[in-house]
Symmetry: C2
Subunit: 385 residues, 2 copies
């Protein structure tokens, strides 16, 4: 059900001709109210696609009526013409829905540089078709229409006492902090103000999507949008809502990790006894982004030396010669020297756990990543062809 | 001739049994004087191998009598026993050469965590054998003995009016700033003080080895050592010496790039019209480290969008929507929008030129890197097995 699990939302997904395969490529999610509160977080990349530039303005007043999302073209680095396409998309949706264009969020994903007149015509046509097809059961269709190289749609729903949080996500590579190459829409029928949504969303994404770092590459189009209809009539405890939202985000983040392009291992890097959470995140991320480490995991090689070589490049507070490193529960390195033999570690399962004990404090963080495989190279060398 | 091209040096390379293949794996370079001036730069990784910890102390007085280098084991994260191995290596060499152990530099390369009793015995035995084999023609043998996954030895010689600079290098991956996974020894028979060598070496490496970023991974063992014998009796103009040294370093850096593990393209990323050199380096490096860009080049895909997505993550001063990007002389992106068609670019040659015009000032820098290939993944997943 994804974005239509919560009351007060309708959605649709249609084929607008943007994908050469003819598969669905345009989705619309509409908030029928009674409230129209919204919040969003965006890529921190300075190279931002036109839909990001538009949506950053549209979200400013905390009111979101609808979200239009397309796959099959990023509309990024397409100049003034591309921005006008995004603007016209919001205008067309606003006109058909009887709402202000300034309350319509637009998201795009696909190849950078794609955004010509054909693209514009198909996006506008698809927006009309999707709005005509809106339904309270449209969440699944919408989640299919936002897929690019995803092998499966990503959906998550959490229901509490009388209110629901549900969401959909797309993304299968270029997953890095400051958000992944991903588009996410999350809806709730709880009663919450835009300010509450903003706080809850920033907290939840910092703990979930921002700790997913598949390949260290940050997209130009990433966006997570949260909409609240208030249709349940229930104003939940704020902490309870935050937990439910984080649960949905974490579920979607793990689905993104599991579907990362070409990956053969889902790697959980847990950094413990750090001086600060920021240190733990920096250390975990340095390992997640180390190609030599990632290639070793692909080869089922528990190469702890590459973990230490990676974390030695950080500014985090710890003594490199006091660190312990474990792979799948076997401590291979204690106090910066060899401990158990490598052959005690079995890295054949897809799920891989790396534990790094910095012995520098009480903070910890977990980073999710993937291995570097032949298939990753293949998929990303053939992407635009 | 490499390290024995300059007068006053002897070298040797022998098989000490550290490599399972039986190939040469231990080299010694000795300065016969009359001067014994030396300088060195080391990895900036905080995770430093035992030979680095030793050599940082040994270089402090600016006197270097000899360098002992081994492949087949990094002696990194091998605890106090590993440091004693390095210390004993310097003691043994000092004893046999009749010099202070504190003036013997030690370098190791190979798998992290390798440094047990067998390793120690073979390094000490190899040191004896190499010293017994020292010769003024030993430069080639020495350059062979430091190879790991290198497909060929790297040597460079520049001769000026009466004086010479020559060097050898090893390295074929983990090439990143703060030095690559590389060991380099450079010798000269010019008359120079240790302070002059230090200044010249830091300047030359900053412009050459530090701008080679094959895979963004920084080693624990990198070291570049420069020795001056004064045997020519000529004290060259300092700037002339700096140019000759930079020429040798650049030649070796390009040989390292050309031999990077599994690479099919040597990529030159030239960043022009930057506000500062530091900005140009940061921008170039962000592209050099972007796996999506590197995989695209492997696929002969001039994906300029990935260049912009990479540089958007930097803090450098420029307007992302004003940037031009060219591949092999064809401008694909002007002012942040599409320009010439992609199919005008031929990426089949190994040499690939990416030009990024930031339009933000007068500074520039060039970063050397490689593409991300199936062979890179293969070689680095099978490294320790």
């Amino acid at each position: 059900m994804s974005v239509t699990a919560a009351q007060g939302f309708e959605a649709a997904g249609v084929a607008a001709g943007l994908k050469s395969t003819g598969k669905p490529d345009l989705a619309v999610v509409v908030n029928r109210g009674p409230h129209k509160a919204g919040a969003a977080v965006f890529t921190s990349n300075r190279a931002k696609a036109n839909p990001i530039l538009w949506s950053q303005q549209a979200i400013a007043d905390g009111i979101v009526e609808a979200v239009v999302l397309n796959s099959g073209g990023a509309n990024c680095f397409t100049g003034a013409f591309g921005f006008q396409t995004t603007h016209q998309t919001a205008e067309r949706a606003g006109e058909l829905l009887g709402v202000s264009p300034g309350d319509v969020i637009v998201c795009s994903t696909g190849l950078i540089g794609t955004g010509d007149e054909t693209f514009r015509a198909r996006v506008l046509g698809g927006t009309e078709a999707a709005i005509a097809a809106l339904s309270v059961d449209g969440g699944e269709d919408a989640s299919l229409a936002i897929m690019t190289t995803d092998s499966k749609p990503k959906r998550a729903v959490v229901t509490r006492d009388g209110w629901t949080v549900g969401g959909m996500a797309k993304g299968a590579g270029m997953l890095a902090p400051g958000l992944a190459t991903m588009l996410v829409v999350i809806t709730t029928d709880a009663v919450l103000t835009a300010a509450e949504l903003d706080t809850a969303l920033r907290t939840a994404t910092a703990l979930t999507f921002d700790r997913l770092d598949s390949d260290g590459c940050m997209s130009t189009n990433d966006q997570v949008t949260l909409l609240a209809s208030g249709a349940s009539g229930i104003h939940p405890d704020f902490d309870a809502f935050g937990l439910a939202l984080t649960e949905v985000c974490q579920d979607l983040a793990q689905q993104l990790q599991a579907d990362a392009e070409g990956a053969s291992h889902d790697i959980t890097i847990q950094v413990v006894h750090a001086a600060t959470v920021a240190d733990a995140v920096e250390v975990g991320r340095s390992v997640a982004r180390n190609n030599l480490f990632k290639a070793a995991i692909f080869g089922n090689d528990p190469n702890w030396g590459r973990v230490l070589a990676a974390i030695g490049t950080t500014q985090a507070e710890f003594d490199p010669y006091a660190v312990d490193v474990s792979f799948n529960g076997v401590r291979l390195c204690s106090d910066g020297a060899p401990d158990r033999p490598r052959d005690e570690v079995d890295l054949t399962p897809r799920a891989t756990a790396v534990l790094i004990d910095l012995k520098a404090g009480d903070a910890e963080a977990t980073i999710l990543t993937n291995d570097l495989t032949h298939d990753y190279v293949h998929e990303n060398s053939a992407y635009s062809s």
